[in-house]
Structures are given as C-alpha cells and as structure tokens.
Amino acid sequence: MKITRDNLCSSIVKEIAEISGENVAGCYQCGKCTAACPVNTVMDILPHQVLRFLQLGLVEALLNCNTIWICASCFTCAGRCPRGVDLPGIMEALRLILLRKRGFSRIKAGVIPRVADKGMPEQALVSAFRKYTR
Amino acid sequence: MKQLSERIKEAAFGSLSSGQVEMVIGWQKGPLWWQSFPAFITDPGETASLIWDPFSVSNLNKYLLNEVPKKKIALFLKGCDALGFNQLLRDGRVEREKVLLFGIPCDGLVDPARVEATGLSKGLLQVKKEREELVFYYKEGQRKAPARDFYYSKCLSCRYPNPVTCDEMLGEAVPCQPLERFANVSKLEAASLEERFTYWSRHFSRCIRCFACRNVCPACSCRECIFDIAEPRWLGKAKESGETLFYHITRAYHVAGRCVDCGECARICPLGIPLAELNRKFIKDINELYGEYDAGADLDKEAPLLTFKSDDPDVSA
C-alpha cells in the first residue's frame, strides 16, 4: 500500500475532521475505545482501527464497513478515551458523509414492518430514520 | 632419538660454552635401564653426559623455582613441560628472560611398570627407541616391541606433544594422536554416588601424605604451601580420612583452571592414586561450563576461576 501526503490530507479526510471537529492525530492507539465498546464483537473494523484508518487516510474502507452503523453512539468510548477523542462524533461524520454526500440510505421504509417488533416505540423508528437515511 | 640426544648435547654445550647461560638442566642416565633423572650442569665439559631416552620423563621447569641465576638457565622442555612452564610464567614464578628453552617434540615416554608387567624387565640392561619400536637389550641379545604399547597412559592422551613455547626446537614436530582423556572421568561420573565414594576412599586410604604430587606439579608453585603452614593449620597431620580427603580436594581445587594436565601427579604417586582424574574432572567441568580452556596453552584467555560471565550457569540447587 502506498502512502502519500495526498491521501493523508485528502479532502474527505479534511471533511471528516471538519464535520466531527476532531483531530484524529490525537489518538495514540491504546485501544481503550475498542476495549470498552459493548458491541465490538460484531464490528468488522474495531473502533480504534477506525481511527488508525483515518490517520492513514484509508477512508474508503471505513465507508464500506459495518462498524459505523453498528455504533450506537453510546459514548462509552468517548467517555473513557485518555486523549479526549470524540469517536462517536467521527463515526457520525463518516455516516453523514455517506448519507449526505453519497445519497446512501441504511434503512428503507419498506423493510421496517419486517424487522421492527411490535413493542418498538415509534420514536425510535423516527430517530432511526433521521440517523440512517438521507 | 639418537639424533635428538646429540642435539641436546650440542645445545647444552653451545649455550654453556658461549657464556649465554650459566647452567643447563637436562637428563642423565643412572645404571638401571629406567633411571633417567634431572641433571644440573654448569661445566661445558660435562654436557656429554646428557641424554634423551624413553625415560626422560622428569619435568625440569619446576627446578627454576629454586635456582637464582645471575644470567640465564637453559633447559629442555617436552610438550607437557612447555605447558607447565607457561603456567609458572603466568603465576609469575619464572622470568622468561632468565631462561633459554630448548623444545623437544615427544610422542610419548615409557612407563617402566608396563615393561615389568610384560616380563621384559628381567635382566634388562637398556631400552632404546628406534622409530616406532622399543629395542630391549639383554646380555644375551635384544628384543623389539611396538613403543606405544609401553607408553605412560598420560602420554597416550597427550594433546601437546610439541612444545607450545621455546626458544629453539630440537627435532621435527611429531604428530599428535591423543586418546580421549576424559574416558575415566566419564566412567566414574556414570557410576553411583556410593560407588564413587568407595572408589576414592579406597584410593585415598593409601595416601601417606608424602606430598610428591604437590611437589612435582607445575601449578603448585606457592612459596609456602597452605598444607605446610602451621598458623592457621588447615591440614592436620593425623591419618584421618577426612583430612586426607581435605588434602586431595584442596590440592585439586587449587590447581583447577591452572592444571596443564601433564599427569605428573599420578605418575609420581608411589601408591598409585589416580590423581590426574581429579584434575581432569575440573578440566572437564570447566570446559563444559565455561568453554574450552587449556591451561598453559590458551595464554590469551583469562584463567576460568579469575573471570566470569554474567550469564554463567547457576550453582543454586
């Protein structure tokens, strides 16, 4: 894999930094975020790896992973990060880039009746749509 | 050997008559076939009495401790003697510039006991070495036998038949074909504790403390030996097995890492105690634990008990 300054400082990297307001260079890869994450077992790229990918400018891999969707923004990682990096904010930025810039929708209204159980509060559905769709 | 004998006489004559040395130490012959002994010659006219024969076993270099030459002393060194000389040098007991060394390549010397054991000694007048054979002379005639069959066992395992140091070599280097020298040690190591104890107790029980093993040893060169010192008296004079054991342990321990394995201690012991095996146990252990070391030959290496490595094997049980 070739690493260049262009990759490292590509516009999308800058955009993520802008949206999240975070400097990914702040992370020193201790892995506490991953260790604390309640849903790390089902993520394909672990939370600390998300930051490492960003440090290396490997954005595309992140835009294609399930991690950013599995992240429930519970903020455990952010709360425990010794470097004060707001990882949920970065996850959000990645999602937003997909949703806003690329017109991606994570969920479609048609599938809701099948996946939602009856007790699910409507408010959750509404917020899911707000979070996961354009 | 004849030739070597002549060269010894020439070397002795030359160095004495030129005034280069004031004394030559070599060997002379006694009336009995096995009697070859150290000779101290100051008169060039007497050098013709020097000999070299298969019984010139005495190590001459330890005599340097007693002599205080104004000029130099010349002496003859076999391979084993040269190692001993180097050890004396290392221990600061001789001054190199005070000696003139003539090296003698030696492929082995004859053990009179082996001649006696074969019955060849009866009426024997003289033994000479001719190439690989010994010629036994009797009134009635002569007999021949392969020389190596009569060599001291220490000679058969000799690893330095050619002197490692000398000022002039007399004679051509001889080939070195040593037998395994640790065979007996290994055999004992393989025996049980009790067998070993019985073996050594039996041997040590014969010890009469004549101190010949110490006195002949080129590594035992203390001005006053610990065993002779009265205050504090380490070694008592009673015939106690514990004291005898103390003597033999301490003697061997004091030459550990310094013993040149010349085998003189065992050769000289009148009671046939296999003393060299004690020394060899130390040599074998040192080689195994701290790397091969040949006292008297490895002059660039530090003596194993006077150095250490931080990752030496541990002694803790």
Binding site: - | F37, G123, I208, P270
Partner: protein, 339 residues
C-alpha cells in the same frame, strides 16, 4: 621344620586372624601393603610391600593422650595399644629394620608405645626367593632368605610354605595353629637351606644389578659434611617424603594436638627430614634452610651419624627409595663420588 600347603592358606589366614589381628601383604589397585586381613582380601606373597611394615609398630599417626580443659582443671588420660597382632610375610630386610628401630625406641628412654607393640606382635618373616631389581640387602650383610630377628621364619617353596619357629613367641604361635601344619620332610627342610645359600651367594649372581660395596663407608663419610658433592646432589631432589615414608628405618616423628572445644587429643605422626618445615622453628629460623642440608642430613644420618652412635647403618637395602624416588636419588649411586 613344619610346612603348610598352599591350598590350606585361606583356612590358615582365618585361623590366624581369629587368634589376633593378622597383618598380611594385601594387594589393592595393584599396590601391595600390609593391612589387617579380612575375608576376601587378596594376599600377595610374591612382592614386598610398598609401605614398609614399620607402620605396624610405629603407625603413621597414633593418639596417646586425651585431655579435657575446664575453666580451671586439666584432665589427662593416657592411651596405649592393647591389641595382640601377627605380622606375617615380613621380608628379612624389613625384619632387620626393626633391629634399627629397636635401637632408637627401646634404648633408654624407652618409647612405651613402640615397646608395647613389639611385645604385642608376633613377627613372621618370609624369605626372599629371588632378589628384586633394586634390592641390595646383602650390601649390609643381610641374608635375603633368612631373618634372625623374626619369631617365625617362612619360606615359599612353590607348592607349600616351610615354617620354622625361631623364638618363644614363635613356638607359641606354632602351637596354636599346629592343626594346619604338617611336618616337613628332611629334603624339604633342606631346600630352605639351599634357598638361603643361593640367595645369600650374592644378589649379583641372582641377576641383581645393585651391588653396593659399603665397606668403610662410615669412615669415608666422616669429615665430608662440607664437600662439594652435596652442592651438586641436592638440586634434583623434589623435597617430597617418598624416600623417608617408604624407608623401613626412618623413624622421625612430630607431636601434634587436635582439639575440639575444650576436649582434645595429642598424637604423634611421621615426619620427614625432607620437608622444609621439619626443622623450622617457631621463631622462623630454619637450621636446614635448603634442600641441600636436608638431603645431606638424610644420607649422613643413615650412613654416618646412626652407625657412629649405634654401630650399624640405618639402611637395610630394601630398595624402596631406589625404586620410588621420582628423580632417582639412588643411595647406592650418589655416595660413589665421595668414595
């Protein structure tokens, strides 16, 4: 004269050992030495012992006093040998050595320990059939196959041993073991005499090369204290104690104490004039400072001082020192230049 066949020897040893401690020339690791016989020991009647049998009468170390010191009082207890013993197989030269030791230890003041042991021991001598290469007992007018000082004289005649008591003690011993002895036939008895004659005819005749004419030696040596020979001779001496400890006539000893806390014992032990500290004084002074004086002392003691005092040489020609001296300071040779 009695005899005993060799098949009966094992039984014979057992019987003797039952009477008293039996010292025999036993072979171990190729070395023959006198030691108390035990069943299974290897008896060697062919070779003389390496260490002379003087150590049976005059052990290398023997404790003779025990003491206990308290805050104020000192308690002493003397010890002396109690055990009867038979010393079998002593060669005539070594028997002669006891005559020399007797001069030292039995003349006034008498040495109690030695005297007691001489009383307790019965001496059985074994005549020599053939002199060894380094033997020169005839130089001192000894007979290789006959020891007048022995209680019993024994000869090895091949198939059997001839046995002849020569003293009261010898008769007593003979009586005790009579059951195993047979009467020797006259021609058998005669063979002992012929053995005596052939061996006494001279060691040279028997193939021995060591013949040493000691005639007038004592006179020759007188006044030779400062001759140059000593200067030449001593160089090769290693200063070990082989010659003195293997000598049947050397008898010098040291007195030492061993203590353990308030208790202790005093013992005497062999010492050797070859050792530097033999004459070392507490002050640090040493009247025999070098090996030269020590070597001279040994030879002059044996061949001049002792005969001057006691009328006989302190050497019996056993040849042990000749054989075992690592540098061949051969007593038969080194005196030659003086003569």
């Amino acid at each position: 004269m009695k005899k005993i066949t060799k098949e009966k020897l094992a039984l014979f040893w057992e019987l003797l050992a039952r009477r008293a401690t039996l010292y025999l020339p036993l072979q171990e690791d190729g070395v023959v030495n006198f030691a108390p016989w035990k069943n299974g020991a290897r008896v060697n009647l062919r070779e003389n012992s390496l260490v002379p049998p003087k150590n049976v009468f005059f052990p290398q170390a023997e404790t003779y006093l025990r003491f206990q010191t308290g805050a104020k009082k000192l308690q002493l207890e003397s010890l002396e040998p109690e055990e009867e013993f038979i010393l079998f197989g002593v060669r005539p030269c070594d028997v002669a050595s006891f005559t020399i030791l007797d001069k030292v230890f039995l003349e006034e003041p008498v040495d109690g320990l030695y005297a007691k042991r001489r009383r307790l021991g019965t001496l059985v001598s074994l005549g020599c059939n053939e002199p060894g290469e380094t033997c020169f007992c005839t130089s001192f007018e000894l007979e290789p196959a006959f020891a007048p000082g022995a209680d019993v004289m024994v000869w090895d005649m091949g198939e059997f041993l001839l046995w002849e008591a020569q003293s009261e003690k010898g008769d007593e011993l003979t009586a005790k073991i009579n059951e195993l002895l047979d009467e020797a036939a006259p021609e058998e008895s005669a063979s002992a005499l012929s053995l005596r004659n052939t061996t006494a005819a001279g060691e040279a005749a028997a193939g021995c090369q060591q013949e040493w004419n000691t005639a007038g030696l004592q006179e020759v040596l007188r006044g030779k204290f400062n001759v140059e020979l000593w200067e030449k001779l001593y160089h090769r001496c290693l200063g070990c104690g082989i010659c003195t400890y293997l000598c049947p006539t050397c008898h010098c000893f040291d007195i030492q104490d061993f203590s353990r806390g308030l208790e202790g014992e005093r013992f005497r032990c062999w010492d050797s004039c070859m050792f530097a500290e033999f004459t070392l004084m507490a002050s640090g002074e040493n009247p025999r400072p070098t090996q030269k004086e020590r070597v001279r002392q040994r030879f002059l003691h044996k061949l001049l001082y002792f005969p001057s005092k006691y009328g006989l040489y302190a050497c019996v020609g056993c040849g042990r020192c000749v054989r075992k001296c690592p540098v061949h300071l051969d007593i038969t040779q080194v005196m030659e230049p003086i003569k």
